[in-house]
């Protein structure tokens, strides 16, 4: 049971396509060439039919541990197929949609410290203020964050969330080596440290940290993991479905996504 709880909790952090933020600076972890852009590395504009073949240079990240990463990737795929995807299906079948959405909203709302601290560390004080307003409105009017009335307030709607990996990117820190973490999936050296930062800033983890040792403390993080699981499985399948090489597809999607997040 404890193992199942661990797997569920760990799955919460599957970082493939989760959390993001904003700002318009160019990040240091840009793919080898602007994806889909017209500027090549030499800065010349490319308009010719044939020359534009260079346009989509493969997103690059150092992968010195590829054999180990591929092995971990295979292990994770097995775990997703045998355990996590069936759990996700049961959860979607058993729990009515309004309750699932309410739980999702509440757990996203409670992650407010991650967004507040990282916006502040990025010097984005306006967004930190907006996040505070959004949290207050959703917590008070939205009954503990179960509903999201802030979406109806233009000044508080559509604020891109922030995370620790993004803060590192904005500080000019590169990805480091690409890593596939057991259960958690695609990441990087920087992403893994960022994940630890997010974990420390997430009030859901505080329960286990402060009351560690009691079985009941696993209930809240497990519920958090459970509500996130269907979204993460969908995102994972979207990134790797119909791929020629699922490992490369997941790596490319992760790097492109983190690059896009670092530009927000």
């Amino acid at each position: 049971m404890k193992l199942l709880s661990f797997l569920l909790i760990a799955a919460t952090a599957v970082p493939l396509l989760t959390s993001c933020s904003s700002a318009s600076r160019k990040a240091p972890d840009a793919p080898a060439a602007a994806v889909g852009g017209l500027s090549k590395d030499d800065g010349k504009t490319v308009q010719g039919r044939e020359d534009d073949l260079d346009e989509y240079a493969a997103a690059s990240v150092a992968d010195p541990l590829e054999p180990l990463n591929r092995a971990t990737f295979l292990l994770n795929e097995g775990l997703y197929t045998v355990l996590l995807r069936p759990i996700s299906k049961v959860y979607k079948t058993v729990v009515p949609k309004p309750i699932r959405e309410g739980a999702h909203n509440a757990f996203e709302n409670i992650k407010f410290p991650i967004r507040l601290v990282n916006n502040t560390l990025q010097g984005n004080f306006q967004r930190a203020g907006q996040e505070t307003g959004k949290f207050l409105v959703n917590t008070v009017v939205g009954v503990g964050g179960v509903m999201r009335p802030s979406e109806g307030i233009p000044a508080l709607a559509g604020i891109p969330p922030a995370d620790t990996d993004q803060t590192f990117a904005k500080w000019g820190i590169g990805h480091g080596a690409y890593l596939v973490l057991p259960v958690l999936g695609p990441s990087s050296l920087r992403g893994t440290v960022g994940l630890a930062g997010d974990y420390a800033l997430n009030p859901v983890s505080w329960v286990s940290i402060y009351f560690g040792g009691y079985a009941w403390t696993l209930a809240i993080p497990s519920a958090n993991s459970l509500r996130a699981l269907p979204y993460q499985m969908d995102q994972y399948d979207a990134a790797t479905g119909d791929a020629l090489d699922r490992y490369l597809a997941a790596r490319s999607a992760y790097i492109q996504y983190r690059h896009a997040v670092s530009l927000k």
Partner: protein, 193 residues
Amino acid sequence: MTRRLLLFCVLLTAWGKNLSASTATAEKRLQVAIKNVLDIAQSAPSDSALAESIGPVLEKYLSFSAMTRRAVGPGWRQFSKGDQNEAIRLFTTLIIRTYSKKLTPGEYPVIKFKTATAPAPGRVDVPTTLLYRGSTYNVTYRMEQDEGWRVTDVVIEGVSLIANYRTQFDAQFKKGGAGAVISSLTQSVARPQ
């Protein structure tokens, strides 16, 4: 000097007008394409019926030759004409299958169009937000003039479909050239769903 400045301003205005006409035309075309696709998704009685009927519509609005060429990259020049045609055929099948799997018959996503931009002559990026099954996604459609405006890439939350395949094709091409790319495409298309 004044005359040159005036000429420059006139040219700039004309270019701007032309650009905004391009973005409007491309955006309109995309709206029609999305409506056609969603109408099919709405009326299709089953997944298999959806997959069958959506193919011709996608072939009308997507430029599969440009998508395949870009996904393969510079190695495309080393493909024979026959290899190129075969790669386009297989990639078209793969994309149509991938796309049709993402739609559920009877479910309608809500799409909001944002201001389109023209990054270069003959090209338009149309950013949208898509609300589907309770989640919101930022989706940008990259369009080019290829027998009318056609979609050449779809970028979901910063992840480009073509760049994603490019990473995979690159690896195959380095292994065994055009033959390896076509072989991996054939295997992927033949994989049971």
